[in-house]
């Protein structure tokens, strides 16, 4: 079982995103004033400063923009993973998310730029928030 670092609260900008994760929803924001897709979550639109952002639920599918396989990390929660892939995934709705691409096998061989991936809400040993990671489709 996984025991990644959990998000910490109170933190008002990202709370709705993580509440979504508990519901199995990958949430993002859209600005009704300028139509910008807003991510990472903030209370204001990062394009126009508008304050009436609407929350949407992503279909959870996207493309690997870039990645790196971290060979070792002494931080608890990652030490036991062995080599793992950190990635930027471009979701189909138009936002880019820092995440992990999880594979069964050697990530150096199995993760690729341009790969299609789908979100998977990974349950954690400790902590109430599942972590949205991605797996190849």
């Amino acid at each position: 079982m996984a025991s990644r670092p959990q998000p910490h609260f109170p933190e008002p900008d990202t709370k709705p995103f993580w509440d979504g994760a508990k519901e199995g929803e990958l949430r993002y924001q859209v600005c009704p004033s300028c139509n910008a897709v807003n991510f990472t979550p903030t209370a204001h639109c990062q394009k126009c400063g508008g304050r009436d952002l609407a929350w949407k639920v992503s279909k959870g599918e996207g493309t690997v923009y870039t990645y790196s396989v971290v060979m070792q990390n002494r931080i608890p929660g990652f030490q036991e993973l062995g080599a793992y892939a950190v990635a930027y995934v471009d979701l189909d709705e138009g936002f880019r998310m820092l995440t992990n691409v999880m594979v069964d096998g050697n990530p150096l061989e199995l993760v690729k730029i341009g790969q299609r991936v789908r979100v998977d809400f990974e349950k954690q040993d400790s902590g109430e928030y599942p972590i949205p990671v991605f797996r190849p489709i």
Binding site: R4, P5, Q6, P7, H8, F9, P10, E11, D13, T14, F17, W18, V37, F39, T40, P41, T42, Y65, T66, Y67, S68, V69, V70, M71, Q72, N73, R74, I75, G77, F78, L81, Y84, V86, A87, Y88, D90, G94, F95, R96, M97, L98, T99, N100, L108, I113, G114, I131, V133
Partner: protein, 393 residues
Amino acid sequence: MAQTRQAAIGGIHEYPLRVAPGVSAMQIKAASLKAALDDAGLKWSDVDGLYDAGDGEGGGGLGLAAYLGLKPRVIDTTQVGGSSYEFHAAHALRDIAAGRVKVAVTTYGSTAASSRIAIGTGGRGGGGSWQTNMEGPYGSTLISNYAMVKQRHMFQYGTTNEQLAQISVATRKHAMRNPEAVKAMQDLQFVGVNEITVENVLESRMVASPLRLLECCMVSDGGGAAVFVAPEIARDLKKKPVWIIGSGEATKYRENGGDITTSAGAQSGPAAFAQAGVSPSEIDIAMIYDSFTITVATCLEDLGFCKKGEVGSFIGDGHLAFDQPGLTINTDGGGLSSNHPGMRGLFLLLEATRQLRGESTSQVNGAKLAVAHGNGGLLGGTHTGGTIVLAAD
């Protein structure tokens, strides 16, 4: 636009030790300031402008002047990561030109190696900010941020590991000619304190793919100081002034649909060259923040030394070393092979100054124009770019 000579670097010092147990960062800052003022021929009490990135214990805008015993008229605590010192030079140029100060100083001290601060290997867990809540659960390390830029650069432009390794090879060649860098590698127990080949780089351990060990900077202690002076002061100093003729500042961060292979340097570089009235092709020597090979490669493109995506062929023939024709970089040995106490932007200014004075251990004969470009923060994430163009007297 004609070159203007409104402010100069009048004194410098680089703290010689890379492992300094029992010494505090504040002590390194104070010792370096004294040595830099001595280098210029100025007195402690001449200092009227204090620029600081808050790197010392209990320092910053509130504590550093009290610790040093200075009474500055301008206090600037710009902290933008490793490029802070290029920003300080930019602000000193502005403040001196405006007549607010005549002798401005910036100092740096760090005991990263002795304190065993894991600058690059730890994940960023917890914290509870709008950033850490979105990044902490994924184990993104400092190095993996840069590695993601390299991965994308190779994918998008066909840049190769062999080409990027030339950066490590050239800086190690320079380091082996710099006694302080050699001692640094010995004191930090490098495996093989010698010149390296492209093959050595490609055979070194993978840290965060596709970045290998010999593409990553060291973690050392260290520090230094620079003294920025007004023209009327510059004329009477012990050494010839090195003129600050252009500056540029920028920041960049993850954006939806953004291009990770372009850094903040694409904004700060052209601004600095425009103010200086020179083009990249006129530059003799470039000090580019070499946290990793990909940092240098990306910034060389962004500063305009070659087109975006063409840095592989630009550096692939190994001309970056001081004894080869063409652009030379990082003649002190850089962060890869001389020192990296966490924020090494100051050392870019110091080595550029040594080159334009003719004092480098890998001197480029007749060097007249230099650029110092710092990249602070995380290249693949939130970062800053600070570009300074310098001219010999």
